[in-house]
């Protein structure tokens, strides 16, 4: 041991320090390694800088430096009056701002639009922040209660009945149609070659219709009683509340465990009663503003939010249908999805505008906005179906098998085990579809609805503001709005994706 120590060399003095390595981090490092490390790279850097220069400088000059900030009409934005080559003409945007946001919504009623916007933000923000509690309540408020409230706020008008009359009316309509179909078949059977067969089917359908008629008789009788009495809305409301609460109590487990369901049902109905009373829906409600007066950002947001809210259930249903083991349902879902995904949205809007009214009964007119909404819901629903299907495919078989082993039915397996996991997987994809939906809402301006882009285009034709820079100013303004919305959503989608993949990061 000792000779090894004695024979080994032990350095007595310190080595001279080596120079520090070339810095590869920080700004200097970035410049050195990724901008100017080779002749080619220097050339590329110059090209990039030139590109940036020619894009940024004119934009800033146009938007800020050369812009006109105040004025009454076009004369303020003309080069000969301003004394320089005019960039953006911002007074034009100031003058047209109400039109770009509300369209022709009456000025006295615009508080309703503002209130709707505030409600939407108040409900949406807590839904988007993952840390906040009560997601279920919040989601049901936003996706179910808010659209109804927003409709009565924006459109106005009151209600004449409640759940009972609506259900009775709908069932009656359905029953009439079935009996009509049966009678048409019976009429056909007299002339057709397969008469007897048609006669049998027709008689069966008529019989079915009659049976339904007798089945719903208590409901229609009750409805007629209520309509006869004064205060029909409140009577109907009370009856509906009692019936629905009892059903909830029964399904919740009766005397044993049904109390919770009963309580939440009563609370929900109380809340509905408060809303009805507050908005005066029982006595005519707010003044009606027809949808042809709506416009601007309001229409853009209404169309996109309605599209988002309605396309998701359609998408989930179609995705489940596509994975179903029942052949007819699977074939139907595939055909439906592929059809809507194969055609451009503009033809869908043409379909909804010109063809859909022909398919509905003659006395049944559908509002132009609603028609566009139906088209957009079907179209987006097909795309959402494919997103949801991706999520369903990502769930391991074992999940469903475990649920089956526990004795859960198909419905319970799907709604409690599979869907919650699948939907969580595909939140980023869903948000991405919502971004494209938001961008696609601009297409409704082609079928004579004035969304943000449509209002903008309409405002160009105003001679009071026609200057060489009007179009550029308008596009700059609308572009900033669209960009903020879409960019915000895409960042949110990235954030959620990051959060979902937290366990996969290393």
């Amino acid at each position: 041991m000792s000779d090894i120590a004695s024979s080994s060399f032990v350095r007595q003095d310190l080595l001279t320090e080596r120079p520090a390595p070339v810095k590869t981090t920080g700004f200097v490092g970035l410049v050195r390694t990724r901008l100017f490390n080779s002749p080619t790279n220097i050339l590329l850097t110059i090209v990039g800088a030139l590109l940036l220069w020619f894009a940024v400088v004119p934009s800033v000059k146009f938007l800020v430096a050369d812009a006109v900030w105040s004025g009454k009409d076009r004369t303020a934005c003309l080069a000969e009056n301003a004394g320089f080559v005019v960039g953006a003409c911002w007074p034009y945007i100031q003058a047209k701002l109400p039109q770009l946001i509300y369209g022709f919504y009456p000025e006295a009623e615009r508080w309703r639009v503002n209130l709707t916007f505030i409600l939407a933000v108040a409900l949406l923000v807590p839904l988007l922040v993952p840390r906040l509690p009560a997601k279920g309540l919040n989601a049901s408020l936003f996706f179910v209660a808010f659209p109804v409230v927003a409709f009565f706020l924006l459109h106005g008008g009151g209600i004449k009945g409640f759940g009972l009359s609506w259900t009775a009316g709908l069932l009656e309509l359905f029953d009439d149609s079935i009996i009509g179909a049966g009678q048409a078949l019976l009429g056909l059977s007299k002339t057709s070659a397969v008469g007897p067969l048609l006669w049998v089917v027709g008689s069966f359908v008529v019989l079915l219709g009659t049976a339904i008629h007798w089945l719903i008789l208590p409901l229609t009788w009750l409805r007629d009683q209520i309509q006869g009495a004064g205060q029909s809305v409140w009577a109907d409301f009370a009856v509906t509340a009692v019936i629905v609460s009892l059903i909830a109590f029964g399904f919740g487990g009766g005397l044993r465990t049904g109390w919770r369901a009963l309580a939440s049902s009563i609370v929900a109905f109380l809340a509905i009663a408060v809303v009805i009373k507050l908005m005066g829906l029982d006595s005519g409600g707010l003044p009606v503003v027809t949808t042809n007066l709506w416009g601007g950002l309001l229409v853009t947001l209404v169309v996109s939010v309605t599209g988002i809210v309605t396309s998701l259930p359609i998408g989930i249903a179609l995705a489940l249908g596509r994975r179903s083991t029942i052949p007819l349902i699977r074939i139907f879902s595939i055909a439906f999805i592929e059809f809507w995904r194969g055609v451009p949205l503009i033809t869908v809007l043409f379909f909804a505008t010109y063809m859909l009214p022909l398919f509905l009964p003659g006395n049944f007119t559908v509002d132009g906005l609603v028609r566009a909404l139906i088209g957009i819901a079907l179209f987006t629903g097909a795309y959402q179906a494919e997103n949801v299907r991706g999520g369903l495919a990502a769930i391991q078989r074992g999940q469903g098998e475990a649920a089956a082993a526990l004795g859960l039915s198909w419905w319970k397996t799907t709604s409690l085990i599979v869907l919650p996991q699948a939907l969580r997987h595909v939140i980023p994809n869903l948000v991405n579809s919502f971004i494209s939906l938001f961008k696609d809402t601009s297409l409704v301006s082609i079928v004579a609805l004035f969304d943000l882009l449509g209002s903008l285009r309409a405002s160009f034709s105003d001679p009071k503001w026609s200057t060489p820079s009007t179009a550029f100013t308008g596009f700059a303004f609308a572009g900033i709005i669209y960009f903020l919305f879409c960019f915000g959503m895409s960042r949110y989608s990235l954030f959620v994706e990051h959060r979902l993949n937290a366990h996969r990061r290393n």
């Binding site: 590329l44 179909a181 033809t347 043409f350 509905l360």
Partner: protein, 401 residues
């Protein structure tokens, strides 16, 4: 004494159940009957309502209107067309216009998309940021917004033909569109085309031969000088022998407009610009993702085998990236074709604009016209997806899966 094995019990009922109801059994059959009944009811409602409504509006259903005179003009036609032609011809004219704008758009979108993708992948920090900014801005603005921007703001701000912006005195850009020289066939056109076609076929055959030699015998044949000769030398030689295949007619300013040359209408310019820049942003992301999806070990393995950087990219990285890139790229091409229907907003005479727009408002045959329009788009997309599934099948076969 041995007993014979008993036959399995006949499972006819089971088989029927399986065929009719899938895995769900008799429940499935019941659900299907209910579903079919509902579908039938909805179909009945639609048909009966449509019939009643059409009777009220005095519109005769059927495709007979296609043989009627259209009576309106179309400002860009690839085939001869006048106002006295039929609606069927309008349909073809519109379809051809849609296809031509799609093909031109796809070409430019691919070029721009690959350039932007290369920018984003570049080791140069600034250039990759510039690419990123381009992609983010373009992807976050609606396509219709961009089409209208090019059409209503940029092209409308261009000067009139007399002060048009000229490029080398050959191409003129003004608010009336783009005027380019038009080729006029000369005496040598036919032999030139024939020789060119022969050159292409021969070059392809040569490449096939060289690849067979490489894969079967490991023999490397250098073919590029021959290919160059076939594709460029041979047509040039023919040109010297038979004269110029075509001459260009240059546009000239006469009065307030151009004479000679061919005019590309501003709607086409705006639509092509918007479609190609918009789709290019998506293509750039696809290409970037595809190239990044190839593991960097592949590049290292290539260089350790002694391949040059270019050869590694060409032979190893790009073929693997293409496998990832091609399906979404086709999807983007399809999207571009479908998005070309936005032409209706600026009046470019595409299928939707002239057929589902003008023809529909003139005849009122909503059901037939919209069904035909949707049908043709559906056909295009189904054909594309069929080709893509064949491609996917070939790729998975070549991987030995």
């Amino acid at each position: 004494m041995s007993t014979e094995a008993r036959k399995p019990p006949p499972q006819i009922a089971l088989k029927i159940r399986r065929i009719l109801g899938g895995k769900a059994g008799w429940n499935g059959v019941a659900v299907q009957f209910a579903f079919a009944a509902i579908l039938g009811w909805i179909g009945y409602e639609i048909v009966s309502n449509a019939r009643a409504n059409l009777e009220n509006q005095h519109i005769a259903a059927g495709f007979g209107f296609l043989r009627n005179n259209a009576g309106f003009d179309v400002n860009q036609t690839l085939i001869p067309y006048t106002g006295s032609d039929t609606f069927l011809r309008v349909f073809v004219v519109g379809l051809l216009n849609t296809l031509v704008v799609s093909v031109v758009g796809i070409f430019f979108a691919t070029v721009i998309g690959f350039v932007v993708a290369l920018c984003r992948l570049s080791p140069n920090w600034l250039l990759s940021r510039v690419g990123e900014i381009y992609v983010e801005i373009i992807r976050n603005l609606p396509l219709l917004f961009q089409i209208l921007f090019w059409y209503l703001a940029v092209l409308a701000a261009l000067p009139n033909p007399r002060q048009s912006i000229s490029l080398l005195g050959i191409v003129f850009l003004s608010n009336r569109g783009l005027v380019v020289p038009s080729p006029i066939g000369g005496s040598g056109l036919e032999p030139f085309l024939a020789v060119l076609a022969f050159g292409v076929v021969a070059a392809l055959a040569l490449r096939y031969h060289a690849r067979r030699a490489l894969f079967q015998r490991g023999q490397v044949i250098r073919i590029w000088p021959y290919v160059l000769g076939l594709l460029i030398g041979l047509p040039l030689a023919t040109m010297l022998l038979t004269g110029l295949p075509f001459t260009f007619e240059l546009p000239q300013l006469k009065g307030f407009n151009f004479a000679g040359g061919s005019r590309i209408i501003p709607e086409f310019v705006a639509l092509t610009l918007a479609l190609s820049t918009y789709t290019a942003a998506f293509i750039a992301e696809i290409v970037r993702a595809g190239i990044l999806s190839v593991h960097k070990g592949q590049m290292e393995a290539g260089s350790s085998l002694g391949l040059s950087r270019g050869n590694t990219l060409r032979l190893i990285v790009v073929p693997q990236a293409m496998r990832v890139i091609v399906p979404p790229l086709t999807n983007q091409y399809l999207n571009l074709t479908k998005n070309s229907s936005l032409a209706v907003a600026i009046g470019y005479p595409d299928l939707v604009s002239v057929f589902a727009g003008t023809s529909l408002s003139q005849t009122g045959q909503a059901i037939e016209i919209i069904a035909m329009t949707m049908g043709i788009y559906l056909l295009i997309s189904l054909l594309t997806s069929a080709i893509m599934s064949v491609y996917g099948w070939r790729v998975s076969r070549s991987l030995g899966a």
